[in-house]
Structure formats: structure tokens, C-alpha cells
């Protein structure tokens, strides 16, 4: 018989570890010992930690495969950028606009999550993978068609479905500013994100996911993952809890997207393609399904690794493919799992310890 570890200690260690790492890097940054390249990694790392933690809620805790997580990041990024830019005059304070952008990004991504999730999650069986895969593609193309600008009358939005229209078709005043220019993406974005904001968002995401998992809601979600029929037999509304996991995850991905989007002067919707979704999935699988602190570490290490090895960039996706295949073999092979379990006894039961 196997005794499981208490989860409170693991959660506390996760919060403490993230905070210590932040303080350390922050001190290095202030002391001037980080190169410019390194500084440019800090906000994206925070974004991708939030992405990995939130995807783990779907893949690890809820046990469903989602292949379009970058799509929610995209929705959050572009809605966040529109929010932050259109409020430039109304709210001069950068951090307040960043906060609003993150909230709006989360809400838009959550709504998108409901639209994608409701029809799929009602069905029995694993249709989520195929639908989220399509969703990731569709959202990229939709944003490619989007032309948005603002002037004193407010927001102007048109869909450039025929590919013939441009910013001038928004019919803005002279002082109007273009925000999203179709295939050219978002332009002239203010760089509102900061490492500190990223750290705060990571902590908020961790609190939301860990507290959710340790609550009645999280237990219901894990019950459905472990045995759907048994979960129904104890009165759990399966569709509702699958949806809660999926939408919460989408909302956090939207928040991460807004943080990410407001870190660069411009942003293309192709930045959030299938590769990005798979990248985040790799973080989750390598960090351990259902293992939240594992996702934090995997996202950090695997973000830095290819960045630090820029010279090998051509082989980056090849490397990921190989690693992914190896990990899939390892997780599906009972003997290999048993072997891993013996080599690293701590990893046993990681699934439930989170």
C-alpha cells in the first residue's frame, strides 16, 4: 500500500520556490549582471509558466488533451493589446492599464473557452484534441482578418475577409491610431509588461490552480479523470466540471497572452500557432501530468534552453519532436514507468500530489 504525501507542504514549497527565484533574478537584474538578451526572457518565461500551469489543469488534472492552448493565449494577447491601447488617454497609469488588459484578456479567452468547450465537452469521448487543434488554426486566421483602430469616437473594428481592405477603411479621425492591421498584426504596442507583473501573474495562477485542485471542484474534476462512470454515480455533473477546468485554463492562458502581448512593440497572430501549443504541451508532459511545480520548472528550463542555444535553432523543433516521442514512450510503457518509478521514487504518485 502506498501513502500519499500531504499537499499543503508541496504547495507552500511551490510558492516559496517561485518567490525565491524571483527575488534572486530581480537582484541580479538590479545589480546589472543580466545581459540584455537574458532580460528579454523574463516576461516570456512568466507567460509560459502561466501557460504551462493552466494547460496542466486541462491535460493533467482533467485528463483531456488540448492542442490549441496558444489560441487562447492569442485571444488574450490581442484583446489585451486593444484594451491597453484604446485606454491610453483615459487611464494614463501603465500598471493599471496592464491589469485591465490582463483581466480583459482573461475574460475574452474564457468566453472563447465556453464557445469551444460547450459543444465538445458535452460529448462522451476524446473529441477535445481535434476540436482545439482546429480552433488554434481558426483563431489565427480570424485575427489575421482583423483590423482595429481607435479615435475619440471609440473603437473601430472591421473584418477584412476578402483581403482587400486596410486601415483607411476604418474611417477614423485624423488622430486615430491603428491597433491591429490585419496580417501585419498589432503595431505600436506600448511595452507595459514587467518582470514584477509577470511574477505576480505566476503567483495568482498558482494560487488559482492549486486552490482549485485542493477544493471540492478540483476533486470532482480529478474524479472524472480517474473514472467517469464512478464520478457520475456519486452525483457529479460531468459536463459542468470538465467545462470548469477547460474555461479556467483558457482564462489563465488569456491572461498570460495579455502579459506576453504587452511585452513587445508589435505582435503577429502567427506567433501563437500550433508549434506554440505543442511547446506548452511539452512543458506540461515533461514537468509531469498533474504536477504543477513540475510545469513551472519545465517551462522555465525549456524556455531558456533553446534561447541559450540560438545557434542550433534549426534543430529546435527536431529536438522537441524527439523529446516528445521519448516522453510519450516513457509514459505509455508500463515497464519504463516502473523503472522510472524505481530510479526516482519521489515521482511515484506525482499525478495525485500535483
Amino acid at each position: 500500500m502506498k501513502k500519499l504525501k500531504t499537499t499543503t507542504k508541496i504547495d507552500f514549497a511551490t510558492y516559496a520556490g517561485v518567490t525565491l527565484a524571483f527575488l534572486l533574478v530581480y537582484a541580479l537584474q538590479q545589480g546589472g549582471s543580466l545581459t540584455n538578451a537574458m532580460k528579454s526572457w523574463l516576461v516570456p518565461i512568466c507567460s509560459f509558466i502561466v501557460m504551462a500551469v493552466s494547460l496542466n489543469l486541462v491535460v493533467g488534472i482533467s485528463g483531456e488533451l488540448s492542442l490549441g492552448h496558444a489560441g487562447f493565449m492569442s485571444v488574450g494577447a490581442f484583446s489585451g493589446i486593444v484594451t491597453a491601447m484604446s485606454l491610453t488617454n483615459a487611464i494614463p497609469s501603465g500598471p493599471v492599464r496592464l491589469l485591465l488588459a490582463i483581466l480583459v484578456g482573461a475574460v475574452f479567452a474564457a468566453v472563447t473557452g465556453v464557445i469551444v468547450g460547450v459543444p465538445v465537452l458535452r460529448l462522451r469521448g476524446d473529441y477535445l484534441a481535434i476540436v482545439t487543434l482546429a480552433f488554434g488554426q481558426i483563431i489565427k486566421d480570424l485575427i489575421n482578418c482583423l483590423i482595429v483602430g481607435y479615435d475619440s469616437h471609440g473603437l473601430h473594428i472591421i473584418f477584412n475577409l476578402d483581403g482587400l481592405r486596410s486601415v483607411s477603411d476604418l474611417h477614423m479621425e485624423e488622430t486615430g491610431v491603428a491597433i491591429i492591421k490585419g496580417a501585419q498584426g498589432a503595431v505600436g504596442v506600448p511595452k507595459l509588461s514587467s518582470f514584477f507583473a509577470g511574477y505576480l501573474l505566476v503567483m495568482v495562477a498558482l494560487v488559482i490552480v492549486l486552490n482549485l485542485v485542493r477544493s471540492r471542484t478540483g476533486r470532482a474534476i480529478m474524479a472524472i479523470r480517474d473514472n467517469r462512470i464512478a464520478a457520475e454515480s456519486v452525483g457529479i455533473n460531468v459536463t459542468k466540471y470538465r467545462l470548469i477546468a477547460f474555461v479556467t485554463s483558457a482564462a489563465l492562458a488569456g491572461a498570460a497572452g495579455a502579459l506576453f502581448g504587452l511585452n513587445y512593440g508589435g505582435l503577429l497572430s502567427s506567433r501563437f500557432d500550433f508549434n506554440t501549443s505543442i511547446l506548452v504541451l511539452v512543458y506540461v508532459v515533461l514537468g509531469g501530468l498533474g504536477n504543477i511545480w513540475g510545469s513551472v520548472i519545465a517551462a522555465t528550463v525549456l524556455y531558456i534552453l533553446p534561447e541559450a542555444l540560438r545557434g542550433f535553432q534549426d534543430y529546435r523543433m527536431l529536438l522537441y519532436a524527439v523529446v516528445l516521442i521519448l516522453v510519450m514512450l516513457a509514459t505509455n510503457n508500463e515497464q519504463l514507468k516502473a523503472l522510472l518509478g524505481r530510479l526516482i521514487p519521489k515521482r511515484k504518485g506525482a499525478k495525485s500530489n500535483g
Binding site: 488559482i208 486552490n211 485542493r214 477544493s215 474524479a223 480517474d226 457520475e232 454515480s233 456519486v234 460531468v238
Partner: protein, 282 residues
């Protein structure tokens, strides 16, 4: 819907067993009434014309040879399958069109022939998942850990321990459910079902894989559960000592048809039943 009983710790109320299967529960309305229940799988009439009335505090047995349709009856009662024919009244309410989860909330809890635990989770969490609708704080209360969260989690922990104590399993609370020995997994399934505060408990082969002393203990505990919680219990079992020992009413199925109903003595001396089990005498 039936008003929910409150489980009082250690309070054992012995119940005179007055209600048995052949519609003898005269002073109280029955908890379960099935009429002309049936389901077909393709051409196979897995269950046909199944009629049953169950008293509120009755222990009933459902027996029959392998493949007779016993588990299918449980799956019909809990809406894992939607019946092709017939009606099921639970506490007087029609259960047509309900989902398995709604059926549980209406008062039926069950265990499974092939154990279905949440095996990666702890024993305590398995019971707490059974308490899901008994501690109804919202998702936001849980995320923000408002006072209500702490209150209800504490109550759920205490209740889970109390329920585990029925089978002396408190010490196993922190263990992974999937790693328990077979018998303990079966007992945990019963505890989890009880946690949902049912008025009718369905046990599918609860003694399967248990040794004789475990089975004897289980028999006592099933009676104890009925007496403590004042609920009806219906069980499928191949162990005739258990069935004849505690079931006040027995229903025998063969090829999806009810071939006999009655008390243990009546069933044991029924020629049709003997034939179904032993084959026709020359």
C-alpha cells in the same frame, strides 16, 4: 424528493424487518417501484418485464446465474442505460430521462462489480468525492479559501473519517486508493456510496474476492449500515450464505426474466430456481 436524513454518529437504530420483496411494506410507501422494466441490446432481451417493489429499510437480494441480467438491472436503475421499456419510481418520483448523476442526487448510490475507484487519489479524497453534494461551497469559495471553505472542508474531513470508521478504515485515509488490497477497495466503494447520503444502496457483488471471514464481517456491516442509516439495500451476490443470511427478500433472474421472488426459505425450495441453478433433473 425524500427529506435527507442526518447521519448521527454512533446512533444505531435497530429496525424490525417487516418489508420484504413481495409487496409487504404496508405501513410505509415503498422506496423503489419498477414496473415492466426492460432493455434490449440489439436482438438480446437482456432484461424483460422486471417488476419489483422495495421497502424503505429492506435488504433485498438479486441473484441468478452468470449473464442473467443482474448488473443490467442496476445499470437501468442508475440510468447508466436508459430502459427500453417500463418505469422506475424512486420514492414515488418518476426517474424517466434522468442522468446517472441526477439519480444519485435523488437517492440511489451504488458500487460496481468491477471496482471503480478514483485510484490515483487518496482513500479520504475518494470518500470526500462521495460527499460532493453534501459540501456545496462554490468554486470561488474554494479558490479564495473563504471561511466557508475551511468550515465545510473540516466537516467533510470529519464526516469522511466517521464513514470510514464503519469498516475500521480510518488508518488508511492517506493511502492511495488503487494500492489497497482487493477487499479494502470493495469496502471503500461502499463507504463512498454511503457518503452521497442515499436512501437506496445498490451493491454489485460486494463479497467477490473476499475470504470467508471478510465476508462474515461484511454481512454484519451491511445490516449495521441499514440499521444506522435507515436505508434500503439491494445486493447482487453469488455467495449464497451471504444472500440467505441477510436478505429479507430475494429476487431470482434467469435470462433476463424474474423466475422467482420471496424469502430465503421460499427461494431455496422453489423448483424453478433449483432447475435454473442446477439444470433440469432427468
Amino acid at each position: 424528493m425524500a427529506e435527507k436524513r442526518v447521519f448521527e454518529k454512533g446512533k444505531m437504530v435497530p429496525v424490525p424487518s417487516q418489508a420484504i420483496i413481495p409487496e409487504r411494506d404496508s405501513d410505509k410507501s415503498p422506496i423503489l417501484e419498477c414496473s415492466h422494466l426492460g432493455i434490449d441490446f440489439g436482438g438480446l432481451r437482456a432484461v424483460d418485464d422486471f417488476n419489483l417493489t422495495l421497502g424503505r429499510t429492506e435488504i433485498a437480494g438479486l441473484i441468478g446465474p452468470n449473464g442473467a441480467g443482474k448488473t443490467t438491472v442496476f445499470n437501468l436503475l442508475t440510468k447508466v442505460y436508459q430502459p427500453t421499456r417500463g418505469t422506475i419510481l424512486l420514492d414515488g418520483y418518476d426517474t424517466a430521462g434522468k442522468t446517472p448523476a441526477q439519480i444519485n442526487r435523488m437517492g440511489i448510490a451504488r458500487t460496481f462489480q468491477n471496482i471503480r475507484l478514483f485510484s490515483a487519489l487518496s482513500v479520504e479524497d475518494n470518500v470526500k468525492i462521495g460527499l460532493h453534494n453534501q459540501e456545496p461551497y462554490s468554486m470561488f469559495t474554494g479558490i479564495l479559501r473563504l471561511p466557508k471553505y475551511w468550515r465545510q472542508e473540516k466537516a467533510a474531513h470529519e464526516r469522511a473519517m466517521e464513514l470510514l470508521s464503519i469498516f475500521d478504515m480510518q488508518d488508511l485515509a492517506a493511502h492511495e486508493a488503487g494500492s489497497l488490497p482487493y477487499g479494502a477497495q470493495r469496502r471503500l466503494e461502499i463507504v463512498r456510496a454511503l457518503a452521497t447520503n442515499p436512501s437506496l444502496l445498490l451493491l454489485d457483488e460486494p463479497a467477490a474476492g473476499m475470504n470467508p471471514s471478510e465476508t462474515a464481517e461484511l454481512m454484519e456491516n451491511i445490516v449495521k449500515i441499514r440499521d444506522t442509516f435507515q436505508i434500503a439495500v439491494m445486493l447482487i451476490e453469488h455467495d449464497m450464505n451471504l444472500v440467505m443470511g441477510i436478505c429479507e427478500g430475494i429476487c431470482v433472474l434467469n435470462f433476463g426474466q424474474v423466475i422467482a421472488k420471496g424469502t430465503a426459505e421460499e427461494i431455496q425450495s422453489n423448483p424453478t430456481v433449483i432447475e435454473a441453478y442446477l439444470g433440469k433433473k432427468k
